[in-house]
Symmetry: C3
């Protein structure tokens, strides 16, 4: 085995390992949404988002910027009830310093001694790498209620993922 | 450090990195079920399954072949209501060009302004690598209702995973 | 490219690949909780826990030791109803032979032909590597109901994860 062959193989390994690391890092950012918001982590929750992030949900006015994320964590974290934001498994596509994640999510709210599922929705997350750290630039969330918007987010994500991993 | 030692270490790395890649690829196939079906991704949903796949659920007649998966995506994607198929975390065992995944799942259906959990069940997924791409050959789904079939899928998957990762 | 440079790069790869492997192995242990308990895997469920493990839930007296885990799997696995323990995506921090996982979870119980969400809670898992195998040393589980304990588990996990991955 020549040194140059080893060099090429090490280079290929470095590139592949970087992609695996990116996938797990992006997964962790998405996984951090629920505990950071439901836990009311006011100081830390904004750190998962870019400075000029947009969180666009049909449930509310879009949130813009880290201050809005901080206010969200503060509001949820001070509710006299527990709220859970649960994530279905994410479909992750990493492309250099950008990544998209497609998944469904649901919310649990307490009611009459049980928790009820108030909302089931589709998400498209767009992340960017900023100073070596993955952050959410935009999250679009649309209810799954038989209308088109939520389904369109899901089919777009699936289509892009299939093409990206060919 | 001799060249042969480096060669051996690079080989070991290549083998391990392939296994990590396989685990994340298998995870993505399972994660793609919900968005591809709930979104009604008629063109893309069958691509996650083998030509002669079987999706065997005690809820319905077994689905056979990609045409049946396409029909499922079409039917769910045209419902006047939103439906969510949610996946519990998967236990993945990769063995060469075959993989099994064990997990629980649940469905959300709308009812009276809320979503209700119509079904909680156990899954065993068997995947194969076809032309470099992981596809579902069989998925067996059994309700968790105190009967044996669902529990047996879970205990089998746990047992195989423990032995495989010894 | 000098041999020493390759040596350093291979070493860096080995270290990084070990961390990726650890993250996926820890994920699998957490993913194994639900199928091992809900399936009633009496023989295998204790193997995911250390000999002197503690599972401390505000729902019950703490469980101590593998015998208590075995008894839990036996009890759940013999219920005349199906029970599902579902995990939200985990935030994993690996540090050498120790790891912590922060996530939310919920339980599904049958009621009137549906499944109801009886409980939504926060978890902090502490794992250790024993003879090369990741095992749960402690799991602390606190309900998310507007009180502080559950939220504190989440904010602690988020804070540690952010600092660890800087």
């Amino acid at each position: 085995v020549s040194a140059s062959t080893i060099e090429e193989r090490v280079q290929a390994l470095e590139s592949e390992v970087r992609r695996l690391r990116d996938e797990l890092d992006v997964l962790r950012v998405v996984a951090s949404y629920a505990p950071s918001i439901d836990g009311g982590a006011v100081a830390d929750a904004p750190g998962f988002w870019t400075e000029d992030c947009v969180y666009d949900s049909d449930n509310d006015e879009p949130l813009r910027g880290r201050g809005a994320i901080e206010a969200l964590a503060e509001r949820i974290g001070q509710l006299p009830i527990g709220v859970g934001h649960f994530m279905n498994l994410p479909v992750i596509v990493v492309d250099g310093d950008r990544a998209t994640v497609t998944n469904e999510s649901n919310t649990y709210h307490p009611e009459d001694g049980r928790y009820v599922v108030a909302r089931v929705s589709a998400n498209r997350w767009e992340l960017v790498r900023v100073d070596g750290r993955w952050q959410v630039a935009t999250r679009v969330n649309r209810i799954l209620d038989g209308t088109d918007a939520g389904r369109a987010l899901l089919t777009q994500g699936i289509h892009e993922s299939l093409r990206s991993h060919e």
